[in-house]
Symmetry: D2
Subunit: 273 residues, 4 copies
């Protein structure tokens, strides 16, 4: 679903067959699909044939057969994440953006992710680390690995992702990873495995919804000689985009999860052992 | 200062001459410098010769000649931004991370930034868009462009950045840009220029500290046919990393700026003109 | 509706005819009504005769004829405000509580409120200032004053409230008031009137939803020699009350209004005039 | 220190000997003291004799002998709490205001407070419940009870406060209290005592800084048959009061404590016992 995004540059001003496209009347009435000759976009607000959209300039207004107006937009990571946000498993852009910055994930990063889940975060990581980087993605549940594989196949099965269908209790196959991100409920059970997969001083991160999980994790981080621990949360507040009545919107998301980051270190008394 | 980051992968477990390194005793007592044979790290807590660090494993504890302990760490974008955060001009990781996600900035993005400032954000953008992308960075003040050039020279003068020392009142040289980010106090004065530089439906973003600026901008966005306007702010709250006394820290940053995003669209009645 | 509250002390352990009572299964399934011999409590979860409740201990569990459990509770200000919160005109407890503290409203305060609205805030103020204090409540719309009168009649028409059905453009009848609170959209139009009603250095407060209103107000406050201006907002975040899964609830109210407070002062150069 | 506040009404426009007064040049340069004939107000910005202030209108500007301007203000609860806020034991107005609303504390409330501490909250409670109400304040540490007694003596030793110098492990002397507020680190140890002091269905409240304390408390609340549990936190954000540059201030208090409220109930199966 994301491969259009990898081709990040708008080489053409106009929508092409095969492009990922969005038709939107408002930010919340937002539909993402792939343009196919002969295809039909259908909502209760009317129908628009894909052939009418192919060749049209991005950003154009277009009317359904019922006369309802839509704009033809090129969707980005943010819109794709936002339109699928009903799946509570999926991480929010506010959190993902900060994780990338905090864990120094970018071109060339080699890292481990577990669990894979449906592969949403995997796709973004794959996009960010590029050909020079690599994502090793572990998942215990076979059906999830299969789903993620299928999702990544849709975007051309990027070569910088390797899946493992395995319980990480057994440890990771990699050493000297730049970063390890655990997206599972009990990261505190796998810190020895994380430590032996990470480069010395590397980046560990996780996201947890409850404070109970965090207190368990903090204990284990200390026991496993992780330091430079950061625990934080990111609150995002939207405003009404009205010049004469500028004010926050009435309601907001109050919680997605706490973010925890740490780095394994080697104490002098350890190295003496 | 950032070139070590571009080389994002830890190819070696040990610190090498020429590497960007950090010596840190705590998150706030954090020093970033480049390792040079014969160099000296000096603080009031003691001295450590670079030659002692070169060849040492990352993440190791090391003592100054006074016996003060430090950890040798490989610094990332986040730490570099955080240690220079006293310069209020510099954007915060929480905002940068979200801007990247929201504006779909990644491998291959071709975009405009104005003003350049000291080039901090330029460096991060350069890193994120890679060789396939390009950053066109405009700045009116000659001394700032020179400073930014010098800062980017330090990291090897990446070929994906082009500087312009010019008032953007005159417009941009580019067309069909994926994104335009304005980091200046009066973005509302340049929306026509932004519009003609952006690909149809492309990504516009800016960061403004006051609500007065936002209300002016909202009026101009409407007048210039931008839609899908998002105004938001990101609040970041840190917690004490103590397992037995888990709680937020006492004080936090309450405001960096409001983020505003929009996309230029073409209405049907416009296209008929 | 609030008179039970004025009788704040639980003189009796058991519910009495005439008491304001609540039947609640959860915090959100909360019904407030007055106990009347022969009365019937009816919901889709079943019926409970008031006579069954009269004489029952507060805090007791009681079953409807369908077997649905409820608790019999004595409702307080908070529950009454919360159950009527769908009326967006009504101020939130988080804001009211702070207003009382900030404006030093308590036993003996003599103050003006405008507009009266449906009299909800009037009732709370009446309760807080007691017999030694007084509330002078102004409202332009006759139907609102009548509604407020009727609402206060229900709680015994406290003698410490006087209503005025009048446009405050004409000014207030009072002088030397301890405090003036304006709950109307254009407080900036009435600052001269506020100033002449307040005791020198007295407390002025208002609540406004948009930043546009605030910037207008700030200009007028300066022009009318108000100082010690405070502008703030109060964010309230609830947590799931689960010991093993302690975390914030998913969503929260993001905005009710900005609170603005100021005090009229007399500059030396003014007094010389 | 608070007795001027009890006399809440500004009966006179001018400052009188014996009045609690404030001299303030800004909100943070704020001095509170009692006016005494012959007294001297002294800061590094100059001296002002009390005799010059006695008889002066509240809200007036006055110059020190060095020419520094101050305003003469009547301080309220808020200013008194704010100027003493460096003592972290003292609760914040944002929290106190909400506690009063949530626990329905007002004229006539009869309630227990423990521990007394320095008596700051005791004084506010005493003020709010009036002559018809009563505060029973328990404290284990004798020196704190003595300090609180002394502090309350200064404001005329209100008759509606009774102190107990005793460990609440032994229980409270009162029954059928409207409310019990525990301001101590281990409220979870005293819920049986709270329950037997409260009227059925009455109001229990506490303030705790860490999530560890809350999870312990939640377990005990369930075990002791408390329901209608609310856990929340109140965030307060101030804005720069500048009309042309309206924006939040740079930094804020991120945490004072979590507020927890609950009511003891009687389940049907209990009453059958």
């Amino acid at each position: 679903m994301l491969n259009q995004i990898v081709d990040n540059s708008y080489e053409k001003e106009t929508a092409q067959a095969g492009d990922l496209a969005a038709l939107a009347s408002t930010k919340t009435n937002y539909f993402i699909f792939r343009l196919e000759p002969g295809g039909l976009f259908q909502t209760h607000r009317g129908v628009i044939p894909h052939d009418q959209l192919i060749g049209m300039k991005w950003g154009s207004e277009v009317l359904s057969h019922k006369g309802s107006p839509f704009y033809l937009l090129k969707p980005g990571i943010y819109e794709i994440l936002s339109t699928t946000k009903r799946n509570t498993q999926i991480m929010y852009p506010k959190d993902i953006g900060f994780i990338l910055m905090k864990m120094n994930i970018g071109l060339g990063t080699k890292m481990i992710e577990a669990g894979t889940g449906s592969g949403g975060f995997t796709q973004i990581l794959s996009l960010m680390v590029g050909k020079e980087g690599h994502i090793y993605s572990y998942e215990r549940r076979e059906e999830m690995t299969n789903l993620a594989r299928k999702n990544l196949a849709k975007i051309g099965a990027p070569e910088n992702v390797t899946f493992y269908n395995r319980d990480i209790e057994e440890g990771f196959d990699q050493k000297d990873m730049d970063a390890v991100f655990l997206d599972l409920p009990n990261p505190y059970d796998y810190l020895a495995q994380v430590r032996s997969a990470l480069v010395p001083g590397g980046q560990f991160g996780t996201l947890l919804p409850t404070t109970n999980q965090i207190t368990k994790l903090l204990l284990e981080l200390k026991r496993n000689n992780f330091e430079f621990i950061d625990v934080c949360e990111i609150l995002m507040r939207f405003y009404q985009a009205e010049a004469e009545k500028f004010r926050p919107v009435d309601r907001m998301v109050a919680h997605t999860g706490y973010l925890i980051f740490a780095r394994p270190i080697n104490r002098l008394d350890q190295s003496n052992e």
